[in-house]
């Protein structure tokens, strides 16, 4: 009872964000359209490359196309910057009044981001149907799908906190957008969303797997396409959880420091 009453406002925030995002119809349609074109692009690219070169041992063409297509569909969710609101609110100063309201601002931000993400998650369905006109996607057995979902969920949270930290930089310097884009582009490459991290040669390969970005796309995708063997699942998801815990602690500390800073400045 108490719990649901405490929870109600955040559900409303999420619903509002969902409705707000749904009003930008052109955006939603162009997002789906560009995704379909990208699916065509990856199909053309990998088909051409596999036709003229020896295939990597553990990744035949159909698995590579599955990898690239599922990565694109995941990006519909992961490319949504769930905490962009912080940057906007710092810029126009409304963060000060939010801190006075009887709500938890971090949870408010999370609900807003979640609501916006939920709308984009819906675009996966039409995107997938259209993509299937262009490519065939492997579907792994149910246990693998469950591990994939778990790993994707953890990856989503890691990505959310990474975005949060980048947006929180705005508490200290107003012009943080460039820094954020730098991290976004680096993350796109090093997370395995463009090419599988297994393609990186020896030393670079070890390096990219040791970075937190791998937890976002690479781990769930390697589970999905069967490059990772079931014996490794626990270890891989464990590494993801470790990154999530670390990012959680850093985010919490950052938020506390930021809150104090606003109070000291007097808003």
């Amino acid at each position: 009872m108490n719990f649901s009453r405490a929870f109600a406002p955040y559900l409303e925030f999420a619903k509002k964000a969902f409705a707000r995002e749904a009003t930008y119809r052109i955006e939603v349609f162009s997002e789906i359209g560009s995704l379909v074109l990208r699916v065509y692009l990856v199909r053309s690219l990998w088909t051409a490359l596999y036709l003229q070169n020896a295939a990597p041992i553990n990744l035949p063409l159909h698995a590579m196309i599955t990898y690239a297509t599922v990565a694109l569909l995941m990006s519909l969710i992961l490319e949504v910057d769930g905490t962009r609101l912080i940057r906007d609110k710092i810029r126009d100063g409304s963060i000060a009044t939010d801190l006075m309201k009887p709500i938890s601002v971090p949870f408010y931000l999370f609900s807003d981001g979640f609501g916006r993400t939920a709308l984009h998650a819906f675009t996966i369905i039409p995107s997938l149907l259209l993509a299937l006109l262009l490519v065939r996607i492997d579907v792994p057995p149910v246990p693998v799908l469950l591990w994939f979902s778990l790993s994707f969920a953890i990856g989503y949270c890691v990505n959310f906190l990474l975005n949060f930290l980048m947006n929180a930089v705005a508490f200290w310097t107003i012009e943080s957008f460039a820094a954020q884009l730098i991290v976004r582009w680096t993350s796109d490459l090093l997370s395995g969303s463009i090419i599988p991290l297994t393609f990186f040669p020896s030393f670079l390969g070890r390096l990219v797997f040791a970075l937190p970005f791998a937890a976002i796309y690479s781990t769930p995708l390697l589970i999905y396409v069967g490059v990772a063997s079931p014996a490794d699942y626990t270890r891989m998801v464990g590494v993801q959880l470790a990154w999530l815990a670390l990012f959680g602690v850093i985010s919490y500390a950052t938020w506390r420091a930021a809150e104090r800073r606003i109070v000291v400045q007097g808003g």
């Binding site: 052109i26 560009s34 053309s44 460039a178 884009l181 582009w185």
Partner: protein
């Protein structure tokens, strides 16, 4: 008009000096933006050495030629992408009442612009030329700047069409970014990897293949296998750029006639 343009660059560089820390971040972003794309390309082609008969150095050259035109566009014509914002915020109307050409005024709104991307593109292109067997002769020094300008005009034409669309539809920001990123992704590879219909679109409808694929084929002395055209097609880039820009400019003028302001 030239005096006004020089004055614009003076203000640009002066404001740029005011915000040096900010500039460093944006310059770094330009490096990361192209660096990640190139690293992905190099890593991919370590595993797959041939892309329809193009090796990694040649694909690198292809990218760097696109980069040259794109960054030339970003240095000189980039302001045009702000038109949708000007229109939405009602700031566009002031350009209509001043005694200069509207497009010229749009291009000379002072930003903190510094041609760092163009400098980076030139360095990258010089490096790509060194690692490939491109003949560096008098023709090269005449042709490459013209191709860069032609490529920039093709990009400018696209930006101008998107900007003109904002006279009819208010929200075009997403379309702008979608077009820009798709252009970058589709021009990264030799167009022979696509199906015939897509090759024709990229060559003659949205002539992105002229920003890099055709001139690179010519400069690298490769035979053109996507549409079986003669190699000299690659030198047509400046002409195609002018033509494409001309078409876009006509649409822009029609849009200006139509423009009524948002009332904000």
């Amino acid at each position: 008009m030239l005096a006004a343009y020089l004055q614009y660059w003076r203000i640009n560089l002066l404001t740029f000096l005011e915000y040096r820390a900010n500039f460093v971040m944006w310059a770094l972003f330009t490096v990361v933006y192209h660096g990640t794309a190139l690293l992905a390309l190099v890593v991919t082609m370590q595993n797959f050495p041939s892309m329809n008969g193009w090796n990694v150095r040649e694909v690198f050259f292809l990218y760097s030629l696109w980069m040259l035109g794109q960054e030339f566009h970003n240095a000189v014509f980039f302001n045009v992408v702000n038109v949708p914002d000007f229109v939405r915020e009602g700031r566009f109307d002031r350009f209509l009442v001043r005694p200069f050409d509207t497009l010229f005024q749009v291009l000379t709104v002072p930003q903190q612009l510094f041609p760092d991307g163009l400098i980076l593109a030139t360095i990258t292109f010089a490096f790509a030329t060194m690692v490939t067997h491109v003949t560096v002769d008098a023709l090269f020094f005449v042709l490459v700047p013209l191709v860069a300008i032609g490529g920039a005009l093709i990009d400018f034409g696209i930006s101008l069409l998107v900007a003109a669309a904002s006279f009819w539809f208010i929200r075009v920001d997403t379309i702008r970014w979608v077009v820009m990123s798709l252009e970058q992704e589709f021009t990264r590879y030799p167009i022979s990897i696509y199906q015939r219909g897509v090759r024709i679109i990229l060559a003659f409808v949205l002539p992105f293949a002229f920003t890099n694929y055709f001139p690179a084929t010519f400069l690298l002395h490769k035979s053109e296998t996507a549409l079986n055209l003669a190699p000299w097609v690659g030198v047509l880039t400046p002409a195609i750029g002018l033509l494409w820009f001309g078409v876009a400019y006509v649409v822009w003028r029609i849009g200006l006639q139509h423009y009524q302001g948002t009332g904000s």
